[in-house]
Subunit: 352 residues, 2 copies
DNA sequence: CTGAAAGCGCTTACAG
DNA sequence: CTGAAAGCGCTTACAG
């Protein structure tokens, strides 16, 4: 591997000058710059990233940390989650296109929040994106270290310590889940539904809470009576949703429509109903959340709430990029909320 | 951020000794080791990864390079591909559990193969996994640089230059797609099918070629006559599969069963048939490839060929891990092939 | 078992 | 506009 000193020797300049050319500094004569550039090209010289970083440059790397609850033996932990994969995909694309490397890590238990600190302390990453944040995430993050360029997705801004926010060290990106579900309830009401149920997500997450909250508010504001039997517990996974639906069927306490905290649970619930010859949307209508591919391919196609994952992940990268470029902290404006679209398909029926 | 020199001062030893403790070298007295460890713990000292690498240690990072054809604007490039996401997920999990970091990059055109070189040259990665390799990939990789610890997934070993293989620098991991499709054809024949069609994958990839090859061989070996009309062109994506199926329907040249180079195309084709009131499996039987979640959730559930992605990606990481630990090259044994399982579900019908 | 010194390959003030 | 020197925070022979 050729190094800057050798390039310098070849061209007949000092290492400093080679460095200036590499870093595109202005104080180099055009003639010298050209010669150096040619040598670099000819000898395929590539500056050692680690030496550069040690000497004061950035690592040009963004860390992506996924908080995952499932056991490490599970073969489909990231994969299983459309939210994660869409997000990760977009982050990689956008970060790559801006010249950043992406370092991905999973966090599967509280001790592993340590990994975030570690990545920052070891200077492996310039900024980080924390995804799938649990409510209690923040207390596992040390004040001093992490507080550089951090974007948190799906976390209640209230939970971010004030000094983090004030110093503009942490940004928060959320989708407007409350409004989304509120709108979904209204849509069902417009279609004649009055008995509207809800399948809940994993309690610990903001989105689970907010989605349910939107449901409750909409029910109340529309003067519908709250019925406990219409609420099914859930954790975003299919298994639990299926069991809860099974119970509801046995009890015979089905509403005419369900809103589900995600598509996967909707799909599982619909399957379960199908096994009992209860049909969607003829007997029960369904609205999911996340706009997964499967929801689009199934029959009937699943009506769902679609967050703009791409815009959100793009924003995540851009925030870090801006921080790094300007080398300054965020302004007051460090909470971003994105609209969620109601995608009307075949799983909701108009009733009388 | 505290550094080794300060730890040394606190404990009253030299930096060398601190370094020995960090690296778990044997030549340190138990007493000293203990004291150093305590100071490290107390002051939350973390060695700077970049300094360590520069001084001769490994970067402890594995690069994952995805070759993707779709345009950068596409919002579901990685995500869209179950093969990629499953693979990536498993790699991250396994690599993380062994203490490696994972750097992910996408390669969307020939020029971007450069990225692999760059990551290695800049010493950002110790080893690499190249996924979704096209037939002509290898010529874009420079001999000298890349030739360290590289695992290639889904590439014809014949195409790897002999000196790469001989020096044990590159390993190849494939699934037994030929045998898989061969078996699938037999399964269809057992179920009474004689008119068996095939929807092809993207020509440039090994798996597309091998899967089709397995089909051709099985047709021939079973004495069935090859019918050109039964073969639909494809590129692993739904759009093309749908169009081709539409054409076949218009021509009226449908076989009684199709094997598809992946599940996505099967799903698209089935949808297309459905729009023409042609039912699966009543009128046409289907076998997919990849065992996607969608295939499992649709009605009827898709019969499919399921590669062991998890085992394959695990092996990828383990190979690199072994290389790095032993610091030696691979033996003659550097081609690995994994069985593919036929998962029998509802999309194949027994006919007379 | 331990320490002083050189070195990893860059960047960055400092001088000129 | 350019170069010599110091420094980034580690590791690794070398001596003892």
């Amino acid at each position: 591997m050729i190094k800057s000193e050798e390039i310098a020797k070849i061209v007949g300049v000092s290492r400093s000058t080679v460095s200036r050319v590499i870093n595109n500094y202005p104080n180099v004569s055009e003639d010298t710059r050209k010669k150096v550039l040619e040598a670099i090209e000819e000898y395929k010289y590539r500056p050692n990233a680690y030496a550069r970083t040690l000497a004061g440059k950035r690592s040009e790397t963004i860390g992506v940390f996924f908080v995952i609850d499932e056991a490490p033996e599970s073969q489909r932990r990231l994969y299983h989650n459309d939210f994660f994969t869409t997000y990760l995909d977009a982050i990689i694309d956008i970060a790559n296109s801006k010249g950043y490397y992406v370092l991905v890590q999973t966090i599967t238990c509280n001790e592993e929040y340590e990994k975030i600190d570690k990545a920052f302390c070891e200077q492996r990453v310039d900024g980080g994106i924390l995804i799938g944040t649990r409510k209690d995430s923040l207390k596992y993050i040390r004040d001093e270290s992490i507080c550089q360029h951090m974007v948190m997705v799906d976390i209640d801004p209230e939970l971010v310590p004030t000094h983090f926010m004030e110093q503009g060290l942490v940004s928060v990106i959320n989708s407007k889940d409350y409004q989304a579900v509120y709108q979904a309830v209204n849509y069902l009401i417009e279609n004649g539904h009055e008995k509207i149920g809800f399948i809940k997500g994993l309690e610990k997450t903001l989105s689970a809470f907010t989605r349910y909250d939107g449901y409750l508010a909409a029910i109340r504001d529309n003067g519908l009576s709250f019925c406990k039997d219409y609420i099914l517990e859930g954790d975003f996974n299919q298994e639990k949703a299926r069991k809860e639906m099974e119970k509801a069927i046995q009890k015979g306490t089905l509403p005419t429509a369900y809103i589900c905290a995600n598509d996967y649970m909707a799909i599982a619930a619909i399957e379960c109903l199908g096994e009992h010859k209860i049909r969607v949307p003829e007997d029960v209508s369904f609205i999911g959340f996340d706009n997964t591919q499967t929801g689009e391919l199934m029959q009937p196609k699943l009506t769902t709430l679609s967050p703009d994952f791409f815009a959100m992940s793009k924003k995540s990268v851009e925030i870090i990029h801006q921080h790094l470029i300007d080398n300054k902290k965020m302004n007051a404006e460090n909470i971003f909320e994105y609209d969620v679209e109601l995608i009307k398909r075949g799983s909701v029926r108009k009733i009388n």
